[in-house]
């Protein structure tokens, strides 16, 4: 039976719509995976000696922070790991035991990249432990750690549908980290005992093994009992509330589109992920302005940060205009739609997003007025120049967006496109160059004025760029419709 399943799996992999067309990207993603594996393997090998040099007992130090490793892994999984529920439906009515189906789908998750990756850390680390004479208990410890990783794997399956559980885990992680940092409460004094016992005793590792078995069977029961079309496999539907946003009516057709775009952002998983991402981007600047990383401590990298802090939404949303409307693009193309209004509605949305980001970012005033002015200048440049470039790039992206799933938002193949790449270069390089020139030739403030002036100048080209985008939409119409019809 499993042989059939595996054959199906292989076919679904090789015949997926994106497989052939985006080989270059597959290779890049593969290289990325290899990179992470290499990092983990190097870390696994070297961390023992690094900690030893620091005068710490390596295993104890690792155990101390293992709780964060495990929690962080859970959060990452929640965001990135795909759930194995797809493709079950056609199997239900075939003469296959339900338990076989569930065992298979759960089993499939065990070979996920998110589990294998950890082996690249733990295996070399354990080998070093053995080599350093830690004895057979090192293997027990290793078993326990891998069991905990797999516990996370099954736990993630159990809680994936429940957002609240995820937010609790995230809040817990943040609270623990903060209270440890400020010496309020140190969870690691308790948790390190737990992890250390995995090594110190011969039987504690059984706890981890019991945990993995327990979560496996909970996940198994959870799925098996819900293997019905109206339950576990049912599409989840939210209670819908009609929102008319009548105050937007005064803007005419522009308002009509804006209304829809606001609903688009609010009601779809994928677009909500975009909002969260752009919120995180606001804090990206902390890496640059706190002078904590030396390589970032120079004028041009600060402008880089300024562009990203204010432009997170602009980039994450704008690069997929008009793909956001891919699901109903045929409707849009058969309606009496003014492209100009459509484009400017998206543009206004990006402007609003940029302004809000800039306002939230006002806490950067803490690092001095000049720092915040870099962000403001970045925002002006974003609105004046980058908003146009982003949409120009988006016009060439012809991959449909599935609004109902959040998983594609990361490591996405959709944004990858040669033309988009070329258009995106000036978004960063021009303001970085302008500021640097002003900074060194005249004064830091002159640099800011140059960046902002370039942004204002960008407005002058607004109509020209909109015309250009309109032409692209028109000339690519049939190709775009055909591309959007293909489901991933």
């Amino acid at each position: 039976m499993f042989k059939h399943f595996i054959r199906l799996e292989w076919k679904s992999f090789t015949r997926s719509a994106s497989f052939g067309t985006n080989l270059a990207l597959k290779i890049i993603m593969g290289l990325g995976a290899l990179y992470f594996m290499a990092c983990f393997a190097i870390l696994g090998t070297a961390v023992f000696f690094i900690l030893e040099d620091e005068g710490l007992e390596p295993l104890a130090a690792i155990n101390k922070f293992m709780i964060y490793y495990i929690l962080f892994d859970l959060v990452i999984r929640y965001f990135l790991q795909k759930m194995p529920v797809t493709n079950i439906k056609p199997l239900l009515i075939l003469p296959i035991n339900r338990s076989t189906i569930v065992h298979y789908t759960l089993g499939k998750t065990t070979i996920s990249f998110f589990n294998i990756l950890h082996a690249f850390f733990f295996v070399p680390f354990t080998v070093v432990l053995l080599y350093k004479g830690y004895g057979y208990q090192a293997i027990l410890w290793h078993l326990a750690m891998m069991a905990l990783i797999y516990t996370n794997n099954f736990l993630n399956i159990l809680v994936n549908s429940k957002n609240t559980v995820f937010y609790i885990a995230l809040a817990l992680l943040a609270a623990l980290g903060a209270s440890q940092y400020y010496n309020v409460f140190d969870i690691t004094t308790y948790s390190k005992v737990f992890f250390q016992n995995m090594y110190d005793t011969n039987y504690w590792f059984l706890i981890a093994v019991l945990l993995v078995v327990g979560t496996y069977y909970s996940a198994y029961n959870y799925f098996k009992n819900r293997l019905n079309l109206d339950d576990g496999l049912a599409k989840k539907s939210e209670v819908a509330q009609t929102e008319n946003f009548t105050w937007l009516d005064q803007f005419g057709t522009l308002g009509t589109f804006l209304k829809n775009d606001i609903r688009l952002l609010k009601r779809n998983k994928r677009s909500r992920t975009t909002l969260i991402m752009s919120f995180i981007f606001i804090f990206y600047g902390l890496l640059f302005f706190t002078q904590s990383i030396e390589a970032y401590d120079n004028p041009w990298m600060k402008v880089f940060a300024g562009i990203f802090v204010s432009g997170g939404f602009l980039f994450t949303f704008g690069q997929f205009v008009p793909s956001w409307d891919s699901a109903y693009y045929q409707l849009m193309m058969s309606q009496n739609i003014q492209y100009r209004e459509y484009i400017s509605s998206k543009w206004w949305l990006m402007v609003i997003g940029t302004v809000i980001s800039t306002l939230i970012a006002s806490f950067y005033l803490y690092f001095g007025l000049h720092t915040y002015l870099i962000i403001v200048a970045g925002a002006i440049f974003n609105i004046g120049v980058n908003s146009h470039l982003v949409m120009l790039g988006g016009a060439f992206v012809k991959t449909p967006i599935d609004l109902t799933t959040s998983k594609q938002a990361f490591g996405d193949k959709q944004a990858f496109n040669m033309k988009t790449m070329l258009i995106s270069l000036p978004k960063m390089l021009v303001p970085m160059g302008l500021y640097t020139v002003g900074y060194y030739l005249i004064s830091p403030n002159a640099g800011l004025i140059l960046v902002a002036a370039a942004g204002v100048l960008g407005f002058a080209f607004r109509n020209y760029v909109f015309d250009k985008i309109e032409k692209i939409y028109k000339s690519e119409k049939y190709a775009t419709i055909a591309a959007y019809k293909q489901k991933n």
Partner: protein, 232 residues
């Protein structure tokens, strides 16, 4: 109203899915398109809406060539399939959106919705559901009524009877007949179901492998003629 000249659609693999030398649909006609799967019905409608590019020939909609000008859009409305619906909107929001695009205010749309309340059977309006969560049949109801917003002169419905329950099919027939009674309105309907089509259309064209094989004005004998044609 609609003139088709030397229209053909050939895909890059060399398969010709549609080839219509000449077809004229006068204003006010209710026009039925029947045929088996793959006969070219949806292809024809997609060409009519300029969603795909013709390999040769052209279509004039009220003297406007559809693949060169967009001026046909204000007086033409269509429902082809679920990709004409915006999944994350409620039915009301969707209707008002289409209304806005067609220059209808909220009151106009409300009046139309009130008229078709029976057709919705109480499952659409105020249902607290987004369109993506509606059943196929209910989605179809939304799409069909949305195509009537703004009193379009040309209404195109692809397979409107599919997925609907018997009562709704009868109600829909009534709606289509009422539409067709207006001598200014041209209605184009495609279907697999010969009985329904014969009942609502005063002209029926049968397509087979992309070619027009029958073109008849509806009469009491029409159904028999069509059934004989499609008999196995």
């Amino acid at each position: 109203m609609i003139q088709v000249t030397n229209l053909s659609k050939t895909y890059t693999n060399g398969v010709r899915v549609l080839n219509i030398e000449h077809l004229e649909i006068p204003k006010g006609q209710s026009f039925g398109l029947v045929g088996n799967n793959g006969a070219g019905k949806t292809t024809f409608f997609s060409l009519l809406l300029d969603l795909i590019q013709p390999s040769s020939g052209h279509i004039l909609n009220n003297t406007i060539q559809v693949n060169t000008s967009e001026a046909w859009k204000p007086f033409t409305a269509a429902f082809i399939d679920e990709s004409f619906l915006i999944g994350y909107l409620t039915a009301e929001e969707y209707f008002y959106f289409i209304g806005d695009l067609r220059g209808q205010n909220k009151a106009d749309v409300d009046a139309l919705l009130a008229k078709h309340e029976e057709f919705f059977n109480g499952e659409i309006l105020n249902s607290k559901k987004y369109l993506r969560d509606l059943s196929k049949g209910n989605m179809k109801k939304v799409g069909i009524i949305a195509a009537l917003i703004g009193d379009p002169e040309v209404v195109i419905l692809d397979e409107p009877f599919a997925n609907l329950d018997p009562t709704t099919v009868n109600r829909l027939k009534k709606i289509i007949k009422e539409l067709a009674d207006d001598s200014n309105r041209t209605v184009l309907v495609s279907s697999h179901d010969l009985v329904h089509t014969v009942e609502v259309c005063n002209r029926i064209v049968a397509l087979h492998l992309g070619e027009v094989v029958k073109d008849i004005q509806t009469s009491p004998e029409t159904l028999k003629e069509l059934e004989a044609f499609f008999a196995v």
